[in-house]
């Protein structure tokens, strides 16, 4: 037991205000991890139809950025988006129901994992088109600028989207129009089954933002506090009317491109090394060592989240499937 009897409440970390905030971040990451584990099991068991793309390992990016966003700020996600949805305040039950194709889901079960929209929490959607969310977030930033309420938006995308021309078109316009948008690249090293090095020219992806004069920064995507540091600066820049930012967060996808992918293309040693940087372990250790949280409090949190997610799974399994009436509903507004 390393924790002191007198727990600290004042954080020594610049991007962490308090012990409570530390536990909130830990909770948010653990929720995503536990959720993805359940989704993986449900997919393997055939309860979830189709393909799911899981984000275990990448939690720090979604939580780091979204923990600093206001409720009326907006995000656009990608195909590996469950973490973004949860970090932006999404309802665990409705999210799982959508992934399971149930009518209680965000899109009446007609979108599935790749098409989850949550207007109430400012989520413009996960998407099945690599890079597809980037212009949507930037369009929302155009609205935000017009409405002048200080809203910002964030587009999450993987390193695979670094080679979509759409990204460069949109970065150019975001820069010339000084739109309040964060381009957040989760560089997990693989675009689907192919290593980034094999398909991406240039020494550093940062150059792609810098080419448009966009402040660009490489971030340790396995460290939620580092992500928050970088995001804080970018968000302030956007809120103050000083335009977009580009964050390249180095992270790792513990699973394959989709659940069930055998991942023959991965190097076992490399995978092991990344596990040692696990963002949840890292924050837990940090909170304990700095006296911001006790071992017991963290264990209790883990158990609580586990129970919560299991309850959601049990409930989702008995929620109704879409009815015939849902087939054409909302085809037109």
């Amino acid at each position: 037991m390393t924790s002191s009897p007198q727990m600290a409440t004042v954080s020594p970390f610049p991007s962490l205000a308090s012990a409570e905030e530390g536990l909130r971040l830990l909770r948010a990451m653990q929720l995503i991890r536990a959720f993805e584990e359940q989704v993986r099991n449900l997919s393997a068991a055939g309860v979830i139809p189709g393909l799911v793309h899981l984000c275990a390992g990448q939690e720090a990016v979604a939580v780091g950025v979204c923990s600093l966003l206001r409720a009326d700020d907006m995000i656009a996600s990608n195909h590996r988006g469950h973490g973004h949805c949860l970090a932006k305040g999404g309802d665990v039950g409705r999210l799982l129901a959508e992934i399971m194709g149930r009518r209680t889901g965000y899109g009446l079960g007609r979108g599935g994992s790749l098409h989850i929209f949550d207007a109430a929490n400012g989520n413009l959607g996960t998407t099945g088109i690599v890079g597809g969310g980037i212009p949507l977030a930037t369009g929302a930033a155009l609205s935000a600028k017009r409405q002048a309420r200080g809203q910002v938006t964030a587009a999450f995308f993987g390193d695979g989207a670094l080679n979509q021309g759409l990204l460069f078109e949109v970065m150019n316009m975001a820069a010339i129009w000084r739109l309040p948008v964060l381009f957040v690249c989760e560089n997990n090293g693989f675009g689907e089954f192919t290593a980034i090095e094999d398909v991406t020219a240039g020494a550093d992806p940062l150059a792609r933002g810098q080419a448009f004069g966009i402040p660009s920064e490489t971030v340790d995507g396995m460290d939620v506090l580092a992500v928050r540091m970088a995001a804080q600066t970018a968000i302030e820049r956007a809120r103050e009317g000083n335009g977009p930012s580009f964050l390249v967060c180095k992270t790792y996808r513990y699973g394959g491109h989709h659940a069930g992918d055998k991942q023959d293309y991965k190097d076992a040693e490399e995978a092991k090394a990344w596990r040692l940087k696990d963002p949840i372990e890292r924050l837990s250790r940090l909170l304990k060592e700095s006296g911001l949280a006790s071992e017991a409090a963290i264990a209790a949190l883990t158990q609580e989240i586990d129970r919560e997610v299991r309850a959601v799974v049990d409930l989702a399994k008995v929620t109704p499937l879409p009815a015939d009436d849902d087939f054409e509903a909302h085809l037109y507004a």
Partner: protein, 330 residues
């Protein structure tokens, strides 16, 4: 009833844009050279002076990205009118249009709407060649979730632009650039033509000519020629392709028992096939002859002055085909 005045097709669309932008602050324009330049066809002249760069937004030549931004803006409170300079370039926005704009209302179960208009200039003429002359309206009509309109007259252009801007769905508005200087009476003030309503342009007894956009004028000229042959042709303009006013089209065909469908897009797998099949499904027992399809030639639109005129049907050919159909020679 607002009084009419005689203005060009170009001016009629502009009147709708001015009217809707004054009425609703969320209406914005996006496109290439539409601001201070006033548009390559002068189709946005004056808007920049009144509404400024915040609402009349010059985009870079980046159709895909700019349209994606328009979709995101539409999801979050704006009503963008996005201009694609030439209809050929609609291919550059197809991913955003097909995979995002058309489906977001459905996928989000109504949480997000995409109230935007894509306006684009199409049509053969002026020797602009294979990449600046196509009418690709058969592309978006295939996609559920989109509405597609194609007005033939200044009054309908004004009324359908107003309706398209007010609609909460993505609407693609095709305007034939060879109609821009056409002058006709247009209602002053607010004028809205409901999307999905066809109009009978000329009544007749012997054959129904269903014609789209510029082909309406070709059909009316053909009807004049047919009258000299004692053939009475009815000309129907669908005005909207999606949704299609099947009732009006079928009623006309049941009355005349013969139908010709004319469109300026490529004939293969095109508008004429869809409308002909729809009419045949609904009025088969009334038909005295097979439904005839007349479309644009299935070739890239050639540049040369001798070849370009071969692309589209003219009134003489249409009248000849209609005569053969009515006299049972087909």
């Amino acid at each position: 009833m607002p009084s009419p005045h005689t203005i060009t097709y170009r001016a009629a669309v502009l009147e709708a844009l001015f009217g809707e932008m004054r009425r609703d602050g969320s209406v914005i324009l996006m496109g290439e050279d539409i601001g201070a330049a006033g548009g390559v066809f002068k189709q946005t002249e004056g808007l920049f002076a009144e509404f400024g760069s915040e609402r009349v937004i010059d985009t870079p030549i980046s159709e895909s990205g700019a349209f994606g931004i328009a979709v995101g803006a539409a999801m979050t409170g704006q009503r963008p009118v996005f201009e694609v300079m030439f209809g050929d370039f609609i291919t550059l926005i197809m991913d955003q249009l097909v995979n995002q704009a058309a489906k977001i209302n459905y996928m989000s179960a109504g949480q997000f709407r995409v109230p935007l208009v894509v306006r684009t200039a199409v049509g053969v003429g002026g020797n602009l060649g294979p990449q600046h002359s196509q009418s690709l309206h058969a592309w978006p009509v295939h996609i559920p979730g989109l509405k597609v309109v194609m007005p033939a007259t200044p009054a309908d252009a004004k009324g359908l632009m107003a309706a398209a801007i007010r609609d909460d769905n993505p609407v693609v508005f095709f305007e034939d650039r060879m109609l821009y200087n056409l002058r006709e009476a247009v209602p002053e003030g607010v004028h809205v033509v409901p999307i999905g309503s066809a109009t009978v342009k000329r009544e007749g007894r012997d054959v129904t000519i269903i014609a789209v956009s510029r082909m309406v004028h070709t059909a009316l000229a053909a009807a004049d020629l047919l009258a000299k042959e004692d053939i009475s042709a009815e000309v129907v303009d669908p005005r909207s392709l999606v949704p299609l006013d099947v009732e009006t089209l079928v009623a006309s065909v049941k009355k005349t028992s013969r139908a010709i469908v004319v469109d300026g897009g490529y004939r293969q797998y095109g508008i004429t096939g869809e409308i002909a099949a729809t009419v045949a499904e609904h009025a088969f027992d009334w038909l005295d002859a097979p439904v005839l399809r007349i479309g644009g030639a299935n070739v890239p639109i050639p540049f040369s002055k001798t070849l370009e005129p071969l692309v589209l049907p003219d009134a003489q050919r249409l009248a000849r085909d209609a005569t053969a159909l009515v006299r049972g020679q087909r």
